[in-house]
Amino acid sequence: MDDYKITVGIECHVQLNTNTKLFSGVDNDAVDKEPNSCVSPLDYALPGMLPVLNKAAVEKCIRAGLAMNCKINLVSRFDRKHYHYPDLPKGYQISQFYQPIVGAGVVHLPDGTDVKIDHAHLEEDAGKLMHFDNYSLVDLNRAGTPLLEIVTDLPGMSSAAQARLYCEELHRLMIYANATNGDLYQGNMRFDVNISVSNTDKLGTRTEIKNLNSFRSVERVVEYEAKRQIALLKKGEKVIQETRGWNDATGKTTTQRSKENAADYRYMPEPDIPPVVLEQSYVDRIAASMPMMPADYRSKFDILNLDESEREAIINYSVLAKRLAEACDKNIKLSPRIAHWFSSTLLTEENQDKNFSLATADELIELSDMVEKKELSSTAAKEVLMEMYDKKNTSKTPHQLAKEMNLLQENDENALSAIIDEVLMMPECAKAADDVRNGEMKAIGFLVGQVMKKSKGKANPASVNELIKNKLS
């Protein structure tokens, strides 16, 4: 936009998919649960209750940190962040203000750009308020869910598109690291976006839009805010540092809270939880257990010459990316076909609920090889592929499936020859046979069709074509 440079910073809250909450040992999965049914005396902030750190949450943080190429801090601490709100039972949130568990790192985006990470800290989520006409109710099911807050560092992102790309990549990374379920609708990942514009070397005054839960809204917010701020500056007005709310329906942001009334959180070291001290060997063990990451797959799939959209569609599903990578290791020549199957056939709406892990790389290679060897038409191969993702077929090889489905192509020359002879004897084919003999090759199509019909589709049309030519020459 003209000579204005846009700077975007993002804080992303990731709900970690641990079995139990961060400090209370209570079920962490509140989806479809009765309000206040996943609540312990600690979550309720009764007097005398003490937080006990969930080790699994620490491990998830490390995994998330490693996924973002971050330094893992071997000593981290918790702090209390104080404010009063009915969804915050203790009157403070346990967070990591001074010494977070995850240090600086970098996220590589699919377009080749990088976004720097300042740090990521572990904290507890608050509960939820439900507002009615003249009263409000509190649901504490979510209170105490572990959150990892990931904070980007300067220079940040420079466009709405890059901001979206970052959020999407972060989403992928967190799922790859098995740090979150990544359900945006359920608020598993929520984005706070900071935006400023400037036409000098200095950063402009920023505004913040909190609690966005879709990639599209992040993109739209940045577009809208950048435009709004630039328009203000061009009119000679100032951008006010404030928190603004995003209205998805109107596509606009509006003033929520200006910085002058900003809360003083009175941070204080959390005395109830000893420092988290990690052994390097423990971090190393977790690092060794990390799967390949999207960036790894991108370079791995380079050789397959896939479209970017095709490649990213596959990488969105870590299990498919894994299968494709395994296939590449086994037989690079047979792998592009598998990639196309994934992106064009498997990844369609109606297959959303399929278990993508069912077909193994070996089976996929075998199927691709059958097409390569003309044992299966490409249409038939897709039918077999879908059957491979049916749970009842897991013990069957693609060949067995194709045979059961009667889709195997007939390549045996003697068998084909016999069928062709039969066809050539049929009265209705006499004219076409004569035409071919006389060099009118167009007529061969009719004969091939008849053979195909007689073979119930299993004959390999190319072979049939050749055989008929030989017989009639």
Binding site: P41, L46, P47, L50, V52, L53, H82, M268, P271, D272
Partner: protein, 461 residues
């Protein structure tokens, strides 16, 4: 202390305690009695003994519980209007461990609301009187528990000590008071005052009884991440000091200390010498900063820990509130005592942005220096000897208009609290007017039993 057996019925022990509790009504020791539950428990224990089943180490022994320990038996009020009607759904670890050994809680004792204070005058339910002079304070904040033991209502009582709340009332009432090493006893289920110095301890008639009670309630607890690995495991006679060297802290015997108190401490030093201890004077000038450190660190944690009392989920809620802000403001204004509010204001001030470095952070650095000074002293001495309080129990109402003077009463008890050290309040003498005066023995972390061993040895001389 008497344990129930074939001859001694638990029901009789409990009945006697309840009778004495009722007879001492005018001291205002208890906020509530636990009569029905206690008798029920006693009957069960007697039946077990009758059947020849195994009973615990404290079978049928009645005890009094400072009313900031959670237990479903009766309300846990912390002597605050805020929690006047609060019934806990869970049991504090220390209480659960005692009950597992057959001890029976007969009542909940008075304290300064939320344990903020040194006289039990800050109780929403009114002050407790001193066991030796009803016109004087019981001390605090665990005043009710100290008096319950001093009046022979129960052989032991639980208290909590954040900056002297067990040791000082023990001294004012002439009983043994144990403030253990920080982390020795689980804080789970005790209304938090200042999390980094809160310790759970007991009052008893002698060091041996105190050791027995502590050996039961101490130990690592998965519910409190700051608890230490089990170490309170020896017989008391096996916990003898190795060097038999005692440091008499010279700085604590001069200006501002009642000469009668100094004399009791010096007499105790002489007794130690006669028992074969080497007693040498030591100077610890850093102690004079302890009170300043304490009244920054502790109010900060107090303010934080009291944030949860907001009228939303449980406890008092103002009936005058018209919106959310008023729920907070009026509920907290009505539910807290003036001393609670004073500490909340100090705490929020020292933590506020722009002041944190100057107050809280600086205090924590000074706290580290204090810990180092103790460590250095313990290179030479097994234990340090000093007074518990600058003077014997003062008159009820004497300090209520002067909070700073009230804080001064803590000057000798807060240093070990800030350093997380065990400190014992041991009966050692009386003033001319007959008021008890205890001495204080302070040792390295986890030397609790060694300190009690010294006290036990001198009790018999």
């Amino acid at each position: 202390m008497k344990i129930a057996d074939k001859e001694t019925k638990a029901v009789d022990l409990v009945r006697r305690a309840l009778e004495r509790a009722k007879a001492s009504d005018d001291y205002h020791v208890f906020i509530s009695l636990n009569e029905a539950n206690a008798l029920e428990r006693a009957k069960n224990i007697d039946a077990k003994i009758e059947r020849g089943e195994k009973v615990g180490k404290l079978a049928g022994v009645p005890f009094a519980l400072k009313d900031n320990y959670l237990s479903p038996e009766g309300n846990t009020t912390a002597a605050a209007k805020m929690l006047e009607d609060f019934q806990a759904p869970v049991t504090a670890t220390a209480v659960a461990k005692l009950e597992a050994e057959g001890a029976i809680m007969i009542g909940r004792t008075n304290l300064d609301a939320y344990a903020h204070g040194g006289s039990t005058e800050n109780s929403y339910f009114g002050p407790t009187s001193n066991a030796f002079d009803k016109t004087r304070v019981a001390g605090g904040s665990s005043g009710g528990s100290a008096v319950a033991v001093a009046l022979d209502i129960v052989p032991f009582a639980l208290g909590s000590d954040t900056g002297g709340s067990i040791r000082q009332p023990a001294s004012y009432n002439g009983v043994v008071g144990v403030k253990p090493t920080y982390g020795a006893v689980s804080r789970y289920g005790v209304v938090a005052m200042a999390s980094s110095t809160d310790t759970m301890g007991c009052f008893a008639k002698n060091a041996e009884d105190a050791n027995l009670v502590m050996s039961i309630i101490a130990g690592q607890d998965v519910k409190d991440s700051t608890t230490l690995k089990d170490y309170w495991t020896r017989d008391l006679e096996d916990a003898r000091p190795k060097r038999k060297t005692i440091g008499l802290i010279k700085d604590t015997l001069g200006k501002g200390i009642d000469p009668e108190v100094s004399k009791v401490v010096r007499d105790y030093a002489d007794k130690l010498k006669k028992s074969g201890y080497e007693v040498k004077e030591i100077e610890m000038p850093i102690l004079k900063y302890a009170l300043a450190i304490y009244y920054i660190v502790v109010p900060a944690e107090v303010a934080s820990n009291l944030n949860r009392y907001d009228g939303i989920r449980y406890g008092h809620r103002s009936s005058e509130a018209n919106d959310l802000d008023e729920i907070y403001q009026k509920t907290r204004n009505e539910g807290f005592m003036p001393e609670n509010k004073r500490r909340i204001m100090i705490g929020n001030f020292v933590l506020s942005s722009g002041f944190y470095d100057a107050y809280y952070l600086k205090a924590q650095k000074a706290r580290t220096l204090l810990i180092q000074a103790y460590n250095k002293a313990f290179e030479e001495f097994d234990a340090l000897l000093c007074p518990v309080a600058p003077r014997p129990a003062f008159k009820i109402g004497e300090n209520t208009d002067d909070p700073l003077q009230m804080y001064m009463e803590d000057i000798l008890t807060v240093p070990p609290s800030l350093a997380g050290l065990p400190a014992m309040s041991i009966p050692a003498g009386k003033s001319k007017t007959g008021l008890p005066i205890n001495i204080q023995l302070v040792g390295p972390r986890q030397s609790d039993q060694m300190l009690l061993n010294i006290a036990a040895e001198l009790e018999n001389r």
